[in-house]
């Protein structure tokens, strides 16, 4: 009876741009200057918007919303690696990516002000709305990939995001398994931001990496420095290219850090030390990227000044536009139960409108 090693596994790690903004030229991906600047623009916009949204929430002008600060590279770089015909399947912490996909900040605010209209984005027809049930989105991402192939779209790719805590969900494993068995073009981006609300990664899993979870499904995977925009882009681009070529799915573990609260309803000081947060602040993805761009002569202080001014103006006008919105059709939710209104919904809508009248009468 032989006993021998029949298969051995390893997990790769990639960092191109280190914490000090020093680049490894051998690994540097090919990105056009325009794309680099576009990426930078959206990362800064994401951060500024994030800051503004939280302020608005604190002022009572928006409802609960998730914070993205610190994860801009991990979110925006993968998005740069796909095109408009590809599908973007987010979880709920991908603000920069959604803005890159053509969703407006006004829509984001609408959503977080409690209106589904914020998730209706006909200008971005292949970007799915946020998914709150963790990891559940990965399965429909796999289905979308299957459908695109079945419908003859030979080069469509699906980019799907999932957090570190959500890898404990069955749906994560089912999605990886289905994708692997069907060999469909999905790239899974794992935002390993260290915490599932308060639960740290080490309580979530005993695995040293998340990337290694793909090994069980015989799926290519890699762990990257998630605050290194070049590494995240490069790994994603390679995975997207494999997927387009019909070589099936990949998993990318993007190691990053949620600098702020899980959502505006969360207080992170309850579960983590300031020192830890300060440590990660030194690894900030935008600072690093700005250094890189400056060294490549693509960026300078006056450009930064202009960008800051432009973004401030954009955010300002978006807030104004959002706050000017009114007259939301109260019974709109009855429009979207079924394609065709059932008798019961018809009656309930009438009752709703009648109650509304009563509410108005009562004053």
């Amino acid at each position: 009876m032989p006993q021998k090693t029949i298969k051995e596994f390893s997990v790769e790690y990639l960092q191109i741009l280190d914490e000090n903004g020093k680049v490894d030229n051998k690994l540097e991906p090919e990105i056009s200057d325009d794309d680099l600047l576009k990426l930078y623009h959206y990362m800064v916009l994401s951060r500024e918007a994030d800051t503004k949204l939280i302020k608005l929430q604190r002022q009572g002008r928006l409802g609960t919303l998730p914070a993205c600060m610190g994860q801009e590279a991990s979110i925006c770089a993968p998005t740069l690696a796909i095109n408009d015909k590809d599908w973007f399947v987010g979880s709920y912490r991908e603000l920069g990516g959604r803005l890159m996909r053509g969703e407006s900040l006004v829509k984001t605010m609408l959503l977080y002000n409690g209106y589904e209209e914020g998730s209706y984005n006909p200008d971005s027809p292949r970007t799915l709305p946020i998914s709150v049930v963790l990891a559940s989105q990965l399965l429909y991402a796999v289905g979308l990939a299957y459908a695109s192939r079945q419908r003859g779209e030979t080069d469509t790719v699906v980019l799907a995001f999932v957090g570190d805590g959500a890898t404990s969900e069955g749906d994560f494993h089912e999605a990886l398994n289905f994708a692997s068995v069907w060999k469909v073009p999905v790239v899974f981006i794992n935002q390993n931001n260290q915490y599932a609300i308060s639960t740290p990664r080490h309580k979530q899993m005993n695995s040293e990496t998340i990337a290694q979870k793909a090994i069980a499904y015989d799926m290519p995977s890699i762990q990257v420095d998630g605050n290194d925009v070049l590494a995240v882009y490069k790994a994603t681009k390679e995975a997207v290219d494999r997927a387009r070529a019909g070589e099936g799915p990949s998993l990318i573990e993007s190691v990053t850090y949620r600098m702020l609260m899980h959502t505006t309803a969360d207080d992170p000081t309850r579960y983590r030390e300031d020192a830890e947060v300060e440590g990660w602040a030194k690894k900030d993805p935008i600072t690093r990227f700005k250094k890189y761009l400056t060294e490549r002569k693509l960026w300078n202080a006056s450009k930064q000044k202009k960008l800051d001014a432009d973004i401030a103006a954009e955010i300002d006008s978006s807030v104004k536009e959002f706050e000017a919105m009114s007259d939301f059709k109260p019974d709109a939710h009855f429009d979207y139960v079924f394609a065709e209104e059932s008798e019961l919904i018809k009656e309930q809508r009438a009752e709703f409108l009648e109650n509304l009248k009563g509410d108005a009468d009562n004053g």
Partner: protein
């Protein structure tokens, strides 16, 4: 016109829909090579190939979750849950995504998905193979729940379900799969989801049932009518949700009496909902309280005592008689 059993009717409906629409595909555990454990999908693989007839990994959430994506992506997946008792593993996918996508995205993304599942008892099966939990699904806004009772309506309603733009749970009473045959026309009239069928008009009492129980109920009705001059209006509910409250209420307004027969557990079952609709719409026409004949609020026992627990013809007869005599 052909005589066939319900499995054959379901199989024929799948063939027809797959022939008529390239976007229709069938997926589930053992549905392709094996043709399904009940043979509902037999012959499809040979005809439509493995891209449209898919043996999936054994994971219900995986099946329904990926099918949801396929549906968003322009396909019309018809998934099979091998038994309804295993369907709860996909419940979060149905509740969390498929049922909500239309509302969540303001109609930008929709999920024309069918989930077929055999359900119900009386076939001497193992644990988890005998329950009738249609209300789990019916309680969820945004999905439709359909239960056929005969080969003809199984054929027509499954086709309607596949053509429906919204998620449909198609629950198949497995006790009725092969227990009898019925006529299925070559090109029958399409049936509409959401409509109960008045199988027989009457004036003294309305009796409502669906699925496998409908047969037992129909037999009791026939016996009672042969033995007495009670005139019974018999309704086959067919769609659990959205419920055809109007037809139910109109019938009860006419008869003033009603008995609901369900295989489901008593508490919070469809009968409760039917009675609530009668309460809302026809209370002042009632001559007697509405009675329900149901499974008890216990799990369905293994088949050693299963039949003692499921509603019987005797129970149905007694309920009708008591309601008439009230």
């Amino acid at each position: 016109m052909a005589k066939m059993n319900m499995i054959q009717a379901i199989n024929l409906a799948l063939h027809r829909e797959m022939e008529g629409d390239d976007s229709v595909l069938v997926m589930g555990e053992d549905v392709a090579v094996n043709g399904g454990v009940f043979r509902a999908t037999e012959g499809l693989l040979e005809k439509f190939g493995d891209k449209r007839v898919i043996d999936t990994p054994l994971a219900e959430a995986g099946i329904v979750g990926t099918a949801t994506g396929m549906a968003i992506g322009g396909l019309k997946p018809v998934t099979e849950m091998q038994f309804s008792g295993f369907s709860y593993n996909m419940f979060h996918q149905l509740e969390g995504n498929a049922s909500r996508m239309r509302a969540r995205s303001r109609g930008q993304f929709t999920v024309p998905l069918v989930i077929r599942m055999p359900f119900g008892g009386g076939v001497r099966a193992l644990e988890h193979h005998s329950e009738s939990k249609e209300v789990y699904y019916a309680h969820t806004p945004g999905i439709k729940v359909v239960i056929p009772s005969r080969p003809a309506n199984a054929f027509a309603l499954l086709r309607a379900a596949i053509q429906d733009p919204d998620p449909v749970i198609f629950m198949e009473p497995k006790r009725s799969y092969r227990s009898f045959k019925g006529d299925v026309a070559d090109n029958p009239e399409p049936m509409q989801i959401g409509k109960a069928e008045i199988v027989q008009g009457g004036k003294d009492i309305t009796v409502i049932s669906w699925g496998a129980m409908f047969h037992d109920t129909q037999q009791v009705v026939e016996e009672l009518q042969a033995d007495s001059d009670i005139s019974i209006e018999l309704l086959d509910l067919l769609t659990i949700s959205p419920m055809d409250a109007v037809t139910i209420a109109e019938s009860v307004k006419k008869t003033g009496r009603c008995v609901v027969v369900q295989e489901a557990h008593r508490s919070f079952g469809p009968a409760s909902e039917i009675i609530a609709h009668i309460n809302d719409r026809a209370l002042m026409y009632l001559e007697a309280p509405v009675k329900r004949v149901t499974m008890y609020d216990t799990t369905v026992p293994l088949f050693g005592r299963e039949l003692l627990y499921l509603p019987s013809k005797g129970h149905i007869r007694k309920a009708i008689q008591e309601t008439i005599d009230f």
